[in-house]
């Protein structure tokens, strides 16, 4: 491992790498992100290496496990260079054919390329696939080009050139001004301008300052930061070192959740490599700037993503927010000036330094610049990670990139911003995505979770789910959050179980105001968002639950009944056999009837009834029809004619 002491040595090393690497050398890139690993990517990598050896190609073909490609829905993703042939859903059984056909004969394996479900058209390269075509990938682009374990890979594609430029070509003030000019806003939730935060710390009189990466990504369904950490850890580290230089901090930290073992391992490895190469330590690249980084693993509390709770936890105390009215960039960790930014924010810094603030502000809206990564999940055809320019509409994300709602269902709502975000209905789909735009609509950017819901989702139950999550994750220090959320959770549970009363909505609004106005930290202050936004856009669903004891989405178990339509039942016995509580009466050639007093509403009969019959129906807010008389239940079938 070389110790690079000057910018010239870094550039020499980079050109040596380039000379050693022939871009025409075939390379099989296999996504080794958490999603694809779960699909068996590790076995796939081994299978490719063995197959290449078997076919005598191992000397001329590289294999590489890369970071997440984003199209998790269709993993494991394999891309073959040159030509960037993209295969989706690859299994180990496909390996021999891929090696002999695509590597050997330079031909495409048609059955493994993407086919547009709507048009039926094939797309051979990633960029031709609808999911990727409408994205603008700057932060995620390199994930697919490098092995996240290799600092050589990172340097080969220009890694640490921004650090070199900042440390040796720019003054600390110039770096700060560039980030300010870029109007980079915090990607962790608050959207506070990073440059202003940095400036506050820089100007604070206390000499010892800190920079921290907030990698305590805890929103349900969110995996943006995880993917960056796992796939391209050096880009985040490079951003952090540049930030330290700009504000005058020589010590950095990463607070990373221990539930991300791969992210922790990859970041730790990146730290070791950066130390060996001299990007960390004393006199980095001969600039006279010293910087070290320590890793702190979180112990699983959601509230530790809140800045002051994170710093308290980092100090070794119980991770609860501080009640102070002084910003942590002035008095943060150990009461010293501390810049805390989220993973994605730091990852943007090298891009801004390399390409300039003007490049960064060339895309986005008035108030929100650059790109944003969203994790697109829920009732969506293309689940995965997407990076889009700020200002794109929700409709484009969900329908053009996400491929719309599967199974022919109707779109109902999209929840943005994590558990404290809001649910936006169909008539808000043309909203341009930006920090201020989402907040005005009653939701928020948050860290970039995006959960799509279809017609079968009950919005009261969604609000209950998120409030329950936040009640569970509240640290319990202040009353409006600890006690208020508990009562909101109880009332919402009552409503979804048919015990709602007319006074409930007013009580919910009152408790929401209290939590928003009087809570100690952002967790409590933003917690009512899922409740208030669903009350704003889907109030009639609340009223139906309360007044008619009816769940319009036919989802709340306590408010629905299952019924077998006697005109449709073909007495196929499937539901009868699958019913876990023997609540279905019937038999061969006898129409099946659900015994309502035994039925537990588990929904198994509904799920197993063959689509061509669709005899099982859900009812809500109306009485279940009386079972037809015993003597009318017999089905007389016509005998099949012999051919």
């Amino acid at each position: 491992m070389p110790l690079l002491k000057t910018p010239a040595e870094l550039e020499t090393f980079r050109s040596e790498l380039a000379a050693r690497r022939d871009p025409e050398t075939p390379c099989i890139s296999i996504c080794a992100g958490t999603g694809c690993l779960a699909y068996g990517a590790a076995e796939l990598i081994t299978a490719f290496r063995e197959e290449l050896k078997k076919q005598g190609l191992d000397a001329e073909v590289d294999t590489r496990g890369t970071g997440c490609h984003g199209f998790c829905e269709r993993g494991p993703v394999v891309v073959i260079h040159p030509g960037e042939t993209c295969y989706l859903g690859v299994k180990t059984d496909d390996v021999p054919e891929i090696v002999s056909t695509t590597i050997g004969e330079k031909k495409i394996v048609d059955r493994l390329v993407y086919q547009d479900p709507a048009t039926g058209e094939s797309a051979v390269r990633e960029e031709e696939i609808g999911f990727y075509k409408h994205q603008q990938r700057h932060l995620l682009a390199n994930n697919t080009r490098i092995d996240s374990k290799s600092i050589d890979d990172y340097i080969a594609i220009g890694g640490y050139s921004a650090l070199c430029k900042a440390l040796t070509g720019m003054s600390d003030v110039e770096v700060l001004e560039e980030v300010k000019k870029a109007n980079l806003r915090g990607r962790g939730g608050g959207g506070f301008p990073a440059g202003r935060k940095w400036e506050g710390s820089r100007n604070a009189p206390e000499k010892t300052k800190y920079v921290i990466i907030n990698a305590d990504e805890g929103d349900p369904g969110a995996f943006m930061d995880r993917t960056l950490l796992e796939g391209n850890p050096h880009s985040i580290l490079e951003g952090l070192i540049i930030g330290g230089y700009a504000i005058g901090a020589n010590q950095g930290y990463i607070y990373v959740r221990q539930e991300y073992p791969l992210a922790v391992a990859n970041f730790n490895r990146a730290l070791e490599q950066a130390e060996e190469f001299g990007f960390l330590g004393e006199n980095i690249l001969g600039s006279g700037f010293d910087f070290t980084v320590d890793v702190h693993k979180g112990a699983g509390a959601f509230v530790c993503g809140e800045s002051t709770a994170l710093m308290t936890a980092l100090e070794g105390r119980v991770g609860e927010p501080r009640p102070k009215y002084v910003r942590s960039n002035i008095k943060g960790l150990y009461n010293r000036p501390t810049v805390l930014n989220n993973v994605e924010t730091w990852a943007n810094v090298p891009l801004i330094i390399n390409n300039g603030a003007d490049w960064f502000t060339s895309f986005g809206t008035e108030g929100s610049k650059g790109t944003k990564i969203f994790s697109l999940v829920g009732k969506i055809a293309n689940t995965g990670l997407v990076e889009v320019p700020m200002g794109i509409t929700l409709r484009d994300i969900i329908f053009k990139i996400g491929g719309g709602i599967p199974d022919g269902k109707q779109f109902k709502a999209v929840q943005t911003g994590g558990p404290s975000g809001g649910c936006l209905p169909e008539n808000m789909l043309d909203l341009e995505v930006g920090f201020d735009e989402l907040t005005e609509a009653g939701s928020m950017m948050g860290s970039g979770g995006m959960i799509v819901m279809d017609e079968d989702t009950c919005m009261v139950d969604v609000a209950r789910y998120f409030i329950h999550f936040l009640t569970d994750e509240s640290c319990g220090k202040c009353v409006p959050c600890r006690e208020g959320l508990r009562q909101i959770d109880r009332i919402l549970t009552d409503i979804t179980e048919g015990r709602g009363t007319e006074a409930d909505i007013a009580t919910l609004e009152e408790l929401s105001e209290l939590a928003m106005e009087a809570s100690l930290c952002a967790l409590g202050k933003s917690a009512p968002n899922p409740l208030l936004s669903t009350l704003q856009y889907f109030r009639e669903e609340y009223e139906a639950h309360i007044r008619d004891k009816r769940c319009p989405a036919l989802s709340c178990k306590e408010l629905i009944s299952f019924h077998i339509d006697p005109a449709k039942c073909q007495a196929c016995l499937i539901c009868m056999r699958k019913c876990p509580v023997d609540a279905i009466d019937g038999g061969k050639n006898r129409i099946h009837v659900i015994l309502q007093d035994k039925c537990t509403n588990c929904g198994t009969c509904f799920d197993v009834c063959p689509k061509k019959f669709s005899a099982v129906v859900k009812l809500s807010g109306e009485p279940v029809p009386e079972p037809i008389p015993e003597e009318e239940r017999v089905i007389v079938r016509k005998k099949k004619k012999k051919p």
Binding site: P323, Y325, G476, K477, V479, P480, R482, R486, L514, E517
Partner: protein
Amino acid sequence: MSEKVTLQIDGKTVEAEAGMTVLEAARAAGIDIPTLCHHEKLEPLGGCRLCMVELDYGDWQRHVVSCVFTVEEGLVVNTRTEKVDRMRKGILELLMAHAPDAPQLDALATEYGANPRRFPQDASFCIHCGLCVRYCAEVKRKHVVGFIDRGIRKEISFIPEIAAKECNDCKECFPLCPTSYLQAAFVLVESLAFPRGE
């Protein structure tokens, strides 16, 4: 001599020392602000939120807890606005789901028109003011009683080994507890872990 700051609290001009909290300044001037988790010997917790006041900047207002917010020159503070009272009423109603009969809460409920039975009663009557935990740690430096778990499952817990040695001659935390939950918790740990006479 320390620096003086002049501010207005409820229309009254008040002189305070720089670094004082708004709560201290108000109380020194004879203006009462209710608190449950505040104790002059302890670091502010900012947990009960009852001491919330309005800061009036003319064209905009802001709500802060006065036990933490420090005085500033020219600050205009209102301790009893309609909104502040509404917040306090809400906080009291939430706490009284735990301790509907605690005298201190009862008196405040009367003052703010809070309904002690607004929410279903909970089995635990601890209101998590943390006075016992913080007093034992910060003043006595014994750490006999602490919080365990998080959020709504959080509760105070005595460490029997230390309690057996320290508590019988101290019990200074007993009068601090607004709901007598502490005494109950102590009796329980005493009877289970170190019965008298053993």
